[in-house]
Amino acid sequence: MPTMTVNGLRTNVQLASAGSGVRTGETAVFLHGMGTDSLASFYLTLAPPVAAAGIDVISYDLRGHGKTERPHSGYTIADFLADLDDLLNQLQVAQPVHLIGNSFGGTLAFSYAATNPDRVRSIVCIESEPATEIWAGKMTQILDHTVNFLAQEESFDWIEANFSAHHRRLARMAADRILNTSMVRDVPLGPLLTWEDVERIRCPVLSVLGRYGYQSEDLEALTSLLPRGELHVFDGQGHSVLVERHREVRELVLSWIARQAP
């Protein structure tokens, strides 16, 4: 599938559609998370059923992730948003899209909707929150912890002993990205959204989270801020909602998009 030059970077893009089936005219864009994540977490879970439902699907590896080029620097939210904007322009997507973001991808979805309200039909954010100062503080803490952890060689032994060799490789990949680029410094810089910016996001928002995930403390309050927000909480679930509960997330997403028809 295509490698496109997006905002100056070689970018891995995967498109899916219903093919000869009925198409609804709706488009969903999947935005994956940071670190070990790639478009695979959506492409191998939600993309096929969403495409089969007649929704055109755009998945791509964010800058520095998966098979997309990894520049040494340039990882502010503004950089990621410029990529998304250029991608939609190049693909000539004229209608507003459904942005479906996992973790950091959902954060990008909020920022994109805040700055490009006419291009977003709805947001589905999975274990995500907008890039407010609270988010930046939380991200800085998580990233600092991650950097310290990944900088120690014995951490990889611990990961393999407690999870698997596969997880060890994933951690190595994340370490390579996190320790050898300016990602950790850039991401919390935003630009951040004020609460007023968040309140001005008018598109419908479906927040999906785990009871014990990263947003468990404040997302209910946040959802009440959004005028057309819905919240779905998976009991007994941590941050990995997308991959561990993908069948249920699929039903939520398909039902959500069907209800957003203009």
Partner: protein
Amino acid sequence: MSIEACVTDDVLGTVSELLAPLVGDLDVLDIQITRDTAFHEDLGLESIDLVTFAGILAEHYGPDVDLAEFLSQKDLDEVIELRIGDITDFVAKRLAERG
């Protein structure tokens, strides 16, 4: 050997050849791909490589051989433990469905 077993063996050979762009030259690397070869663990590949491989399979066999759709029905641990035999059986099944 049954016709079905011959077809599956043939598919295994083709799948092995199609993996080369991701894994490297199998002869040079001295990798013998069998039905038991694990995609992630034995070949050192990642989920994003599965996406690439899905594209390679669809290009070779046609869009109805949709590995992503097949994998979207599986749980995470099944995908992590995916073996070449699982992929071979899936491809052979799709080919058989064409009649």
